[in-house]
């Protein structure tokens, strides 16, 4: 092996990419050539140089110019809940060895974890428990002992309603209005006037119904007579029968359905109003 071939194979040897026969030939050449021994020693020392000679932020600089700064991800992993334990813990630990910012965040998080639970409670004062006991007296309907039931509990709940003042004002105003109205003359006479008006309406309606039935009867008879006049003898007889039946039907309806019901309506009305108003007997429909 000459020096030119040695230099060609040198970096392959450093990468451990040579066959054992080539390695043996290089070692034999090193024993014989002082120049190549010097070169080999220089290259090996450079390859094994201690990383502490590198700048402190060398890895961070490389990351920043390639994948981006890893601190944000490291800090989010640090802040992750214990429920979200990650396989990346060893990566974060390695990062913390060389990153003072993230180490500070880790320290702050650890102290906060100890300090925050102490903020859970605050002192409401000595008189707080008695006031709660008073406020809860009579609230619940379940167990005996503290409970109240019925109207008092209802009133207690009512009083706790946020709009109780407004609702109370409405109730008082409504009560005053009712009392004033009840004591006024126009209001006290209202039932008698209402009864009279209602009876008048019923009587008028009954009269109208009666007149309507009479008119229907007359129309029926007229039609039957006209049919009888214009038809043959058989038809005349048939028409007469129809006319007679129509008369009888109308009379039956009037006598057996309308008249008794009219009387019944009148008697029921008299019972209900108990003499508040006398029916107007001058109206023929009421007789």
């Amino acid at each position: 092996m000459d020096c030119v071939e040695f230099e060609v194979l040198l970096f392959d040897e450093l990468d451990r990419a040579l066959a054992s026969a080539d390695v043996e030939r290089m070692q034999a050449h090193l024993l014989a050539c002082a120049n190549c021994r010097g070169l080999y020693s220089l290259v090996r020392s450079g390859d094994q140089q201690d990383v502490t000679d590198l700048p402190h932020d060398f890895a961070a600089g490389v990351a920043a110019s390639t994948s981006g700064r890893p601190c944000e991800r490291a800090q989010l992993l640090l802040a992750a809940s214990e429920d979200d334990a990650s396989d990346d813990d060893w990566l974060v630990a390695r990062h913390l060895e060389n990153c003072p910012d993230c180490s500070a965040v880790a320290g702050a998080l650890a102290r906060l974890q100890l300090e925050l639970p102490a903020l859970a409670e605050a002192d409401p004062g000595e008189d707080f428990v008695p006031s709660v006991m008073a406020a809860t007296f009579g609230v619940r309907s379940g167990p005996a002992g503290l409970q109240e039931s019925g109207p008092r509990r209802f009133i207690q709940q009512l009083i706790r309603r946020p709009r109780i003042a407004l609702e109370g004002a409405y109730a008082i105003a409504s009560s005053v209005l009712v009392v004033v109205s009840l004591t006024s003359p126009s209001f006290s006479e209202l039932p008698a006037r209402a009864a009279e008006d209602t009876w008048r309406f019923v009587a008028d309606t009954a009269g109208t119904v009666g007149e309507g039935i009479s008119e229907l009867n007359a129309v029926t008879l007229t039609v039957a007579d006209q049919v009888a006049e214009s038809a043959s003898a058989n038809v005349v007889e048939f028409g007469a029968n129809v006319s007679s039946s129509a008369r009888e039907l109308t009379r039956t309806v009037w006598d057996e359905l309308v008249t008794p019901n009219l009387e019944e309506v009148r008697s029921l009305w008299n019972e209900k109003v108990s003499g508040a108003v006398e029916p107007d007997t001058s109206n023929p429909a009421n007789r």
């Binding site: 809940s81 906060l112 974890q113 409670e121 428990v129 006991m133 503290l146």
Partner: protein, 186 residues
């Protein structure tokens, strides 16, 4: 008396058991109320109202659940109800109504106590945080709720709660280091 038996006796109407339960949880309930309401009297009223609701709903509490999470949810709801009422009554304190619209108000509950002075730095850092992250710190770190319990209280997906709690811790650590770079080094 353990909590389960205490609750059982409360349900049976034992006034002494109820008093003991109130004493055991009054600090926590008032602490939550103070977190949402800067006014001490308002916070006391809210805490009292929360206990009334707790008492009236004791029958409905599932014994297998986390009692602390349950009372926290009730107290938080009471506080939000009060903030809504204060919005409707702006002459009393308009600033709190505005804070409610924007989210959860900044915590001030510890600043008027001796214990609070010890944690002054943490309170100041909490005030600098966003409202959503601050509430995560309150529920997860201060009161120690599980993530699924927080998700239930805030009606958020579990994944959102996980991401938000991690971000909240990170933000709090950064805020507190801005105030004191040596925090956590000793």
């Amino acid at each position: 008396l353990d909590l389960e038996n205490l609750l059982k006796r409360c349900r049976q109407g034992d006034g002494l058991a109820w008093e003991a339960l109130v004493r055991r949880f009054q600090g926590r309930v008032y602490g939550i109320a103070r977190y949402y309401l800067s006014d001490r009297e308002e916070a006391r009223d809210v805490a009292q109202e929360a206990f009334v609701r707790i008492y009236s709903k004791l029958e409905r509490f599932d014994s297998g659940s986390n009692f602390t999470a349950w009372i926290l949810r009730i107290t938080r709801n009471c506080a939000i109800d009060r903030l809504r009422q204060m919005r409707a009554r702006p002459q009393i304190d308009a600033s709190q109504g505005d804070e409610y619209i924007a989210g959860v108000p900044a915590p001030r509950f510890g600043l008027d106590t001796a214990a609070g002075e010890q944690h002054q730095l943490v309170y100041r850092a909490l005030e600098l945080m966003s409202a959503a992250n601050r509430e995560m710190i309150l529920l997860k770190e201060i009161h120690g709720l599980k993530q699924h319990e927080i998700a239930e209280i805030l009606s958020l997906p579990l994944g959102t709660v996980k991401a938000r709690t991690n971000r909240a811790r990170h933000e709090l650590a950064r805020r507190i280091l801005e105030l004191d770079p040596t925090y956590g080094t000793s």
